[in-house]
């Protein structure tokens, strides 16, 4: 009787002091009506083997810059919010939920309770304050604060409300701040505080954080909240991660995720090696190139793997552009003429490019926003101007400009009788761009435009594009893209810094104030700048999408860049893997192949 009374008392006491169940997450695998409907509850065990072509440089998410480092980091660390790889919607991660103030000037993040770091220490708001304030806002630390910088140049500031709640304040409403702040990998204060000079006087003012968690660090020291913890890293060989015993996601049967015991990422010297390893059953998954597909298609039934050819396109976009700030006034005038750029678009034999370069697995694109982005204006927008391949149309446009073959030598001339000739560059070593350039060159030759093509080493290529001298004429190159186009402001805002085809648009505030003391924008530039501020100033994604749609149509109309076809994503995996969910989120750091391989993969019995 006495024991029962004591137990009852203890239960009452625990209830009173508020020991609550941890805020774990149950992933609804196989639950009808959810995005995980097609998945099944799995069993623990097995090793997932994949490959990548570079070594990680650091296991510190704040100072990491390279894709290879973000691959393990995406599995070792977690942020407050995350984009679901299947829906691309922002959803809670370490935060249970968040509240944006009505005026948009603050966001309150509520942290999950009862979550533990992989070493067993509790995760609290102190870890958030450490990550955001002591590290990210600390100017001694090599953090990339550009995404946090508001249009007025200010940075956010933070207050701790309680052990599980923090508030972030902004000078102005700034929609991208939600993912910029909420998407930062949270760091364990108890493991790293001593590397921060302002917290550790013993450092004598010398910040050690920038070199913390290098690739030589003892894996036991690298603590996280992600599904895996680092087990071993051997340069040029492998990164091996094992299941995090404290991970906070479960399946509906109550099994703690992930299912895999280990995830091994082989580090290979080239994609060809990965291809051979996959075919030799040394890898479970592989992202093939177009040229690999014929072999894989033949081998798939024999070797027991599935080849997935998706409709999703790669995130990056390749394009042709011309130098609208060309030092030669005749070429400058020509390149600034919309009709000339339209002629280029009509001269782009996209069907041949798709067949020859992408072996049929590509699609023509029109927008500066990735087709995978929720902010893409769509394939069927009524105002899109598709410029089909037609040398007749291109020739008519060139005639209309007034560059015609006056002396009958087969080449067009300017009004002063000199031949219209220009140089065409791309970066050497990129076979896709070189082939596309040569296809373009053939079309231009038929049009009577004298073009000399050269593949330049990347440093020289970039150097020419970004130098004030403007020593280039026409190029093929590409940009990477993210889910939210806001990050491309550096490209599209007139003073952004990467608008190399018309730096003059930015004038004194742009990248080359010395070269362009007076802004010389195209008439639509100002509207793009305005749209950029408008989309950033609303937390309503639908409204932002409208602004982005207008921006995309402006680019489509004025054609500063002529987009070239974009290749499709393909994927191959052995059939002993289960719970494969395709995701096209590749390129934004969650998964190099765009497949959810972290917690919802399992080996079928």
């Amino acid at each position: 009787m006495k024991i029962i009374s004591i137990l009852l008392g203890l239960i009452l006491l625990l209830g009173t002091i508020g020991i609550a169940r941890p805020d774990y997450v149950t992933v609804p695998l196989g639950v009808p009506g959810t995005i995980y409907e097609g998945f099944r509850v799995g069993a623990h065990g097995g090793t997932l083997r994949s490959a990548m072509i570079a070594n990680p440089v650091v296991f510190n998410p704040i100072v990491a810059r390279d894709t290879a480092s973000f691959w393990p980091l995406a599995r070792l660390q977690n942020s407050l919010i995350i984009r679901n790889p299947l829906t691309m919607e922002i959803e809670p991660s370490l935060a249970t939920h968040w509240e944006v103030a009505a005026d948009g000037l603050s966001i309150i993040f509520h942290l999950r309770r009862g979550i533990r770091w992989s070493d067993g220490e509790p995760l609290t708001a102190d870890d958030l304050m450490f990550t955001f304030v002591d590290v990210f806002l600390n100017t001694d630390i090599d953090a990339r604060r550009v995404d946090w910088t508001l249009p007025d140049g200010t940075l956010p500031w933070f207050t701790k409300i309680d052990d599980y709640t923090i508030k972030v304040h902004f000078n102005m409403t700034f929609r991208p701040a939600l993912i910029a702040v909420g998407g930062i990998g949270i760091l364990p204060r108890h493991k790293l505080w001593h590397t921060v000079a302002r917290l550790n006087p013993a450092l004598g003012g010398v910040c050690g954080f920038n070199h913390a968690w290098g690739v030589g660090t003892d894996p036991a020291e690298i603590v996280g909240t992600g599904p895996f913890v680092l087990y071993r890293f051997i340069p040029d060989v492998e990164i091996r991660m094992k299941r995090n015993p404290n991970f906070w996601k479960f399946d509906p049967a109550g099994n703690r995720l992930p299912y895999w015991d280990m995830v091994v990422t082989n580090i290979v010297a080239s994609i060809d090696v990965a291809f051979l390893m996959f075919r030799n059953k040394e890898l479970d998954v592989f992202g093939p190139r177009a040229e690999d597909l014929a072999i894989l298609k033949a081998e798939a039934p024999i070797k027991g793997f599935t080849l997935l050819i998706t409709e999703d396109l790669a995130w990056g976009q390749e394009f042709v552009t011309v130098n609208q700030d060309h030092p030669d006034p005749r070429l400058r005038e020509l390149f600034r003429d919309l009709r000339f750029r339209e002629a280029l678009a009509h001269a782009a034999d996209t069907e041949t490019m798709i067949d020859v370069v992408h072996l049929g697995l590509a699609r023509s694109i029109w927008s500066p926003v990735s087709v995978n982005s929720p902010f893409y204006a769509g394939w069927d927008h009524p105002d899109i101007r598709w410029r089909e391949y037609s040398l007749d149309t291109a020739a008519a446009l060139l005639d209309e400009i007034g560059i015609i073959d006056t002396d009958g030598d087969g080449w067009r001339e300017f009004a002063d009788g000199t031949r219209v000739a220009f140089r065409w560059f791309t970066n050497a070593g990129n076979e896709l761009r070189i082939t596309k350039s040569l296809i373009m060159k053939d079309s231009l030759r038929e049009l009577g435009l004298y073009v000399t093509f050269t593949g330049l080493p990347w440093p020289e290529f970039v150097g020419r594009l970004l130098a004030a001298s403007g020593d280039w004429d026409a190029i093929v190159v590409g940009f990477t893209a993210g889910v939210d186009p806001h990050g491309a402001g550096i490209i599209w805002r007139s003073i952004g810094g990467l608008q190399f085809w018309r730096f003059s648009a930015g004038g004194p505030g742009g990248r080359h104030p010395a070269a362009f003391p007076v802004a010389d924008p195209a008439p639509w530039n100002a509207r793009v700048d305005e749209l950029w501020d408008l989309q950033a100033g609303t937390f309503d994604d639908a409204e932002a999408k409208e602004y982005f749609a207008e921006f995309q149509l402006l680019i489509n109309e004025h054609l500063p860049l002529v987009y070239l076809p974009s290749g499709q994503f393909d994927f191959a995996f052995y059939n002993h893997l289960g719970n494969f969910g395709w995701s096209n989120i590749n390129g934004t750091g969650s998964d190099p192949w765009g497949v959810v391989t972290s917690f919802d993969l399992r080996q079928l019995p």
Binding site: R65, V215, S270, T480
Partner: protein, 328 residues
Amino acid sequence: MGVFIIRRIAYMIPLLVITSMLVFGVFAIMPGTFLDQFKFDPAIDAAELARQAARLGLDQPLHIQYWRWISGVVQGDLGFSFSGRQPVLEFLFRGRLMWTVLVAVSTFLFTWIVSFPIGIYSATHQYKAGDNILTGLAFFGMSIPNFFFALLLIWLLVTVLRVGELGLGVAGIVGAEFRGAPWSFDKFLSFLWHLWPPVLVIGTAGMAGLVRFTRGFYLDALGEQYVLTARAKGLTETKVKYKHIVRNILNPFITSLGMGLSGFISGDLIAAIIFNIPTVARAYWFALQAQDIPVLMAGLLLFTFIMLVGNLLADISLAAVDPRIRYN
């Protein structure tokens, strides 16, 4: 001999300083910098690039950059890798040196063990069928490009023999289950399985030259008077061949061995890439692509130093094996 060694070591210092300047000059005139790879990343703005340039010292004039680097070298600090964010020596050698040396030494042994007897056989059976066949094979090894031979071998293993069905890998230097594990008999077997393809590819490339050298030197030696004398003395043919002739033709090989010492540390790049072996050359190649100047500078300086040491060791060895050679 002691004075000779000290003098040779003293010569190395100015040689290394001049080398370092030349190397720095070559890299300085290369267009672009390590940061160029980030210049087209929309997530990195001009301010970030400037900050990174300051962090890496790339915003300083060239002579300051050189002085900072060489001052560090003198104090034993070879610098910090831009791309690897770790000390240069760690970047180049951690997890790589042992495998590089193992593959290089195995290849060396394979090449010499196979080439030397073939060379002698060819010389002693000059213009006979055996000589022609073996010489032809050696030339085939030399003629076939390493990358092609490697791909051919892998194609044979993966597609024709389908070794993957047997759980045998073709990439790496040991099977995945043995990586990072202590040495055991099974690991050793796995190592041997992964070792033979690169050894065969790299080894056959060097065989032809060695076979021809051995054959040529041996034939030259056959006409020497000391061979005639040895035979006249009534020595057995085996003694004539292996005690007298072979010993006398060793000198050029010892010299080439000294020259090639840095190759033991760097390893073969093509085989490292195709067979996915973690070698020093692969790390250096990566640094070259990334324009990681500290690694490039330190690596070249180090390889030059090792080559000079190799030459010195070769000279010392020559004196040891050939009593006619004396250094004053």
